[in-house]
């Protein structure tokens, strides 16, 4: 069987076998080796701030209940009844001390403990002494600066170790707020008729920026007569473990804190003050990096945090090789004034999300790739070579090092899994 990547440094050529986008067997391996073993984003801690708050979440193909239990702990419960399996909680979100399965009316505290069942005389005393009749929780749930992740592999390394060099970039996102970030309501639930890895690639791909999003940049140029030329310039960085980032300058405004002419003059002063405050907290250099540089971060395998014209986090999961479900979050500093918040949201919506002026075109690009992978038998390889010729330490943000970093890590998992099988045959 053909290798899944060809990484030829001498020739400065990097190829990915297109079957990884369309093959069901590959998807089964991804589920077993990636989604069952890597840290997966479940949500932001501010989505369930009060005891009793809960939200249903689909993570790694599971139905979970992300809940702030009354003992103060945040848990991810498997939303399935220990009795005969029914989905216990049917509301998408809310606040409750107990969850009751409607089928035979077993009820559970919001930490999962079984507290009631009709017809108790039919069960022995101490029936639940081992806790096997409680709603089961995901054993590994860890938090990095408000971003919460689960791991279905009990032996996984810690989240901090897993994030590794990516922490520095998450810090740059979170540090823009003195009081932490919060997730807004209205998490965008959408889909793309394309393979999930195409979205991981697309989210750190600045090469496509101009051709795919020309209409957006036309609008930016019309809004700002001083914008002579759209500059998208910066670095591409491999963060290890399959994570990567691009850090770059761009012509759009950043709510913290780069003013743009679509905002009124008053904002300009506010933003200068914000930036001064950042400089007090972190020094000029870091303040400048936080305020004026954009970051698109991919946390392997399926979390993207983009700190661009607004801050968005998106996570995605394949229900089949050619279809993914996406959740899109908006994150903003706690305590932001209403006026700023509105300006931020309008900046978000101009580019991002299913109704934005850019995201739907990304969606279309991915779907056209997927549609044309019907030709995979004859036309086999994707080219991801851009910038290799410069040497991987010198990659530009508009190069493809970020995707190569993803693929090299992906390959180390999936090719190994394929090879193991062959060795056993």
């Amino acid at each position: 069987m053909e290798r899944i990547i060809q990484d030829n440094v001498e020739k400065s050529e990097f190829l990915v076998n297109r079957r990884v986008f369309s093959d069901k067997e590959i998807l089964a391996r991804e589920r077993a080796e990636i989604f069952n073993k890597c840290w997966l984003f479940i949500g932001h801690e501010t989505e369930i701030p009060e005891p009793g708050d809960y939200k249903r979440k689909k993570v790694g193909g599971r139905n979970l209940l992300f809940v702030h239990s009354h003992d103060g702990e945040i848990r991810a419960l498997f939303n399935t009844c220990p009795h005969r399996g029914a989905l216990v909680c049917r509301e998408d979100s809310g606040n409750s001390r107990v969850f009751r399965c409607f089928y035979h009316a077993w009820s559970f505290k919001n930490d999962g403990e079984l507290v009631g069942m009709p017809g108790k005389d039919g069960f022995p005393e101490g029936f639940n002494d081992e806790g096997t009749k409680n709603m089961k929780a995901v054993n590994r749930l860890e938090n990095y600066r408000g971003f919460m992740f689960v791991n279905f592999d009990e032996n996984a390394v810690s989240l901090e170790e897993y994030l590794g060099n990516a922490k520095e970039y998450i810090d740059l996102v979170v540090d823009q707020s003195e009081y932490g970030m919060e997730a807004l309501g209205g998490v965008q639930q959408y889909s793309v008729r394309a393979n999930w890895k195409l979205l991981a690639e697309n989210s750190v791909d600045l090469y496509h920026g101009m051709p795919t999003h020309k209409t957006y940049f036309d609008i930016k140029q019309a809004q700002d007569p001083n914008l002579k030329r759209v500059k998208l310039e910066g670095k591409g960085i491999n963060l290890g473990n399959g994570h990567s980032v691009i850090e770059y300058v761009a012509p759009w405004g950043r709510p913290v804190a780069q003013w743009t002419p679509i905002w009124d003059e008053e904002f300009k002063n506010d933003m200068e003050k914000m930036k001064e405050r950042l400089a007090e907290r972190f020094g000029e250099e870091r303040a400048n990096r936080i305020a004026n540089y954009n970051r698109n971060i991919v946390i392997f395998p399926n979390l993207v945090i983009n700190d661009i014209m607004a801050v968005t986090a998106r996570t995605f999961y394949p229900s089949s090789p050619g279809y993914m479900e996406v959740q899109g979050y908006s994150l903003a500093p706690k305590g932001e004034s209403d006026k700023h918040r509105l300006a931020r949201n309008n900046n978000f919506l101009e580019f991002l999300g299913p109704g934005g002026f850019a995201t739907p075109d990304d969606n279309e690009a991915l779907e056209l790739c997927q549609e044309a992978y019907t030709n995979n038998t004859e036309v086999q390889w994707n080219d991801i070579s851009k910038g290799m010729v410069r040497g991987e330490g010198n990659a530009l943000a508009t190069d493809e090092l970020q995707m190569r970093s993803f693929w090299r890590h992906y390959n180390s998992i999936i090719q190994a899994s394929l090879d193991k099988e062959v060795a056993h045959q």
């Binding site: 807004l184 309501g185 209409t215 919506l349 299913p354 002026f357 995201t359 969606n363």
Partner: protein, 162 residues
């Protein structure tokens, strides 16, 4: 100048005309239906009354943004709608309130089918209009589209104007 009394039918015709304009991709004409302070919004699914500072809308256009939206979609580089999708908009259950007042409130159900590359997506929900009389014509001051869906799956996007 004599001002004709407005009938419910005038409002219904106005809505049907809007739908026809959109189906015919006359998007600049669509934008021109709005007043100078007109807005077009799509709240998050399940939160029709969401506060825009607390929850993210799908679309929250002021007059200039909706103009940009219309102009963008007509460009060849609005890739998602090039070549243009084919759409069929149906408005039903139209309820007109306050026909005498300055701002006429209209509610209707809608079904919008979009087909492209042999995939049909159907958007359903409710539209609330605030319509005013302006220089002998009717104009939209506010159009709010509430999606009665569980999510944007499998649609994936709201690339067309709802």
């Amino acid at each position: 100048m004599t001002v004709k009394t407005l009938e419910r039918q005038d409002i219904v015709d106005f809505l049907y005309t809007e739908a026809k304009i959109l189906d015919e991709w006359r998007l600049l004409d669509w934008a021109a239906l709005f007043t100078d302070d007109g807005t077009y919004v799509v709240p998050p699914i399940g939160e029709p009354e969401a506060i825009p500072t607390k929850s993210l809308y799908y679309i929250h256009d002021n007059r200039s943004r909706l103009q940009e939206r219309a102009e963008r979609l007509l460009k060849k580089e609005a890739h998602v709608e090039y070549p243009h999708s084919t759409t069929t908009r149906n408005y039903h259950n139209i309820l007109v309130s306050d026909i005498e007042s300055d701002v006429i409130t209209v509610e209707c159900n809608f079904t919008t089918h979009r087909t492209k590359r042999e995939v049909v997506d159907t958007f359903i929900g409710k539209i609330k209009y605030e319509i005013v009389r302006e220089n002998d014509r009717l104009a939209i001051q506010r159009k709010k589209v509430v999606l009665n869906l569980d999510s944007l799956r499998p649609h994936g996007k709201i690339s067309l104007i709802l």
